[in-house]
Amino acid sequence: MANQSPDDISLVLAGQAGQGIETIESVLVRILKHACYNVFATKEYMSRVRLGANSTEIRVSFKKRVNCYIDRIDLLVALEKVTLARLSPRIRESTIIVCETEVYAGRGIHVPVPMTTLADAAGGKILTSTVAVGLVSGLLGIERGIAEYHIKHEFADKNADIIKKNLVALKNGLDAGMALAGSGKVKFATKTDACIADDILVNGAEAIALGAIAGGCNFIGSYPMSPSTAVLSSLAEKSRIFDIIVEQAEDEIAAINMALGAWYAGGRALVTTSGGGFDLMCEGVSLAGMIESPVVIHIGQRPGPATGLPTRTEQGDLNLALHAGHGEFPRIILSPGTIDDGFFLAQKAFNLAAKYQVPVFILSDQYYVDSYYNNPPFKLEGLQIESHVVKTTRAYKRYAITPSGISPRGIPGNGDGLVLVDSDEHDEDGHITEDFAIRTMMVDKRLRKLKNMGDDAIPPRFTGTSNYKALVIGWGSTSNAIDEALSIVGDPSLGHLHLLQLYPLSPDVRKYLVQPTRLVLVEQSPSAQLAQLVKLELGIDVHRKILKYSGEPFHVEELARRIKEEVA
């Protein structure tokens, strides 16, 4: 076949909502990983339950791990017409399109496969998605036993008849795929990578959920909202193994207030939400600021304002997280780029919240939570769940004035003291006060925590050589795509600085930015919010900006092209 990269294949599966694209993705990715191919997968879907146009991108790599979205499509398996039309900007002359004759739209190389007929022969049209799994497995030379194992696993809770029909559909697809590969009509040179056998497959949402558990999370109160719900359901699934109270709140206001109640009583609570839901939590964030309660808030960003694009991606809520809640109080904002980041930052978020008694944000986005790739298992060695709770005495004062600004935090029923917290300005005991001197002392005490929080901030991740002539700055989900784009650009004088903590900034950020160099920000928002923050905090101008706010994630090719333009 012409034009196939010897290193990896970009495979897209497309269909309407309800055609089982998500099931194909999860089964196929597991099959591919089991067969020791490196895989990356991300989905794009419409905010609807039926019809529409959904697709999933699966990269299959033979040489090294792959971890981000690309534009190129080598093989497209389309279950119907509408989705194919939507993908048309990504279809090239060399794209192989496997679909029924009537679905084909005239571009790319059409390879007709009667998938519906093969599904019908196995028991009905509903099995088309399983035929597609078989077809791709056949084309990529997957062992039949591996594919069968994962189909059985996927439908394990279904009755014997359903499992049997799916196995027949798989076989029909596998045979068709192997026949195509054998005929030379479609041929991919594949190679397995045995060293990934111990890798795990975890998406961004699950990485955050697992990190939260590693941080001691034992309570989540949240209201479902795309794309943040995956963290809620992931913790719910794990609550059967770990002691976690999972409660679906009546609204986001209740969710954050439950979380604050849980922390007050000695729990470690998380809330997960997205833009609009977070708007409702803002008063609760302010309450956390006043009562100096720890709380961890995951925001899976999506394009706004208002309902915006519910199932798409954006990085437009940094300013919201930074300024949410009336009044002034310290906060911490973290943002994961890689799957590892999601785990380790979520873990750290709980300890930071407990230590500084402040709201800690984990800012992700739809692309981040819905993407996954094979990754070595997270290393838990050295991780600790830090309680930072003290046993109270009779003389206990919840808001004792201290040099660090941190007052030892007690919980009710743990010691002889009483724990008094108040949303009004309060004295050291926690009683309402309108004394101007005490008010000033309390404001100073709360804000004093910022000093240590800044010194303690997680340093940014730098890739490149020390004498870089231009620095690409990113945060959040763009991390892997920037790295791959830079490897395509191939200019060793370019560095990549990825910020893992957005507030307060680590002192190291300044060290990298003050070098005489061209600064290029990559951000999925229309107004370069990180550049605004850097200007405000460090007085440094970031002149070059690569921005995108269509709702689609950056793809590597586009980033490589735009980085080249900005550093030329």
């Binding site: 059967r240 206001i253 209740a254 009583a265 000695g266």
Partner: protein
């Protein structure tokens, strides 16, 4: 215990002279003393308003949070530490207005907490506007032509939602109210006590005299397990019945949680997650 055990020394009380809140404070302290609940095992959760300042005047742990949000905070505290006695206490504006959604859904959850709602049919802290329970026709600085919307009936709403304990008390009746609140605290689930009180500063309509003329007790024969009957009595508005309208014992929220199915140790007292178990779980994601 002596009710004095709950006194807070040297506190500057912000309530107006003659406020019904003083009687309620006395009633609640008496009920707690009779039940021997030590201050360090007691948590009051309140919102915003004059009634919400209540926990400042009673010796206990407290979480004086946001307007309308006391109940979600309280239910989470009880879930994380069921050993604590948790009382949510605030006014009717806080609980039925701003916090209406939490009122509805926590009745469904049935957390073991006592929900004491000071109901004076007017807004006090914001100086005299209508509250959710204000009577039609009441003239205020905002409702200048008188209240034109129907008053909220918390008792009938709670019974409609099959709340597990629903009562109405009156601040002017010390002894009977102590009895009602004691039963509410002992009730192992969500217990609503709507407690009527005059507001001498802002409610010139529903005075001590008005209440004395408009309240009476449910008869001894009233069967609190009969939901239809309870609902019927709750709908009486010409004269307001007092007492326990409805009781329907069922498992409390935390009793139904998986974390307490095989282990009664409060979540907050358990050792942190076992990271070795987590490691094994992560490795199962191969």
């Amino acid at each position: 215990m002596d009710p004095k055990a709950y006194d807070v020394a040297g506190i500057d009380n912000q309530w107006c002279p003659g406020c019904g809140n003083f009687s309620i404070l006395k009633i609640v302290k008496q009920a707690l003393a009779e039940l021997d609940i030590p201050p360090d095992k007691l948590v009051f959760v309140s919102g915003i308003g004059q009634a919400a300042k209540f926990p400042h005047y009673i010796k206990c742990n407290y979480f004086n949070g946001l307007h309308g949000r006391s109940v979600p905070v309280a239910m989470a505290i009880k879930a994380v530490n069921p050993d604590l006695t948790v009382i949510a206490e605030s006014g009717e504006g806080c609980n039925y207005g701003e916090g209406g959604n939490h009122f509805i859904h926590n009745i469904r959850r049935n957390p073991w907490l006592t929900h004491i709602v000071h109901d004076n049919m007017v807004y006090g802290l914001t100086k005299g506007q209508a509250s959710p329970t204000s009577m039609k026709g009441m003239v205020t600085p905002v409702q200048v032509d008188g209240v034109i919307i129907e008053p909220f009936n918390p008792i009938s709403v709670a019974i409609a939602l099959d709340a597990s304990f629903v009562a109405r008390a009156y601040a002017g009746h010390q002894q009977q109210s102590v009895g009602i609140i004691k039963q509410a605290i002992q009730h192992p689930g969500y217990a609503l006590v709507d407690i009527l009180q005059p507001c001498p500063s802002f409610n010139k309509l529903n005075t001590f005299q008005w209440y004395n003329d408009h309240v009476y007790y449910l008869e001894k024969e009233h069967d609190a397990r009969d939901r239809q009957q309870a609902f019927k009595r709750a709908c009486e508005v010409e004269k307001l019945p007092l007492g326990i309208f409805y009781r329907n014992e069922k498992p409390a929220f935390h009793d139904n949680l998986r974390v307490y199915q095989h282990d009664k140790i409060p979540l907050c007292k358990r050792s942190p997650h076992d990271l070795a178990k987590l490691k094994a779980f992560i490795e199962s994601r191969k």
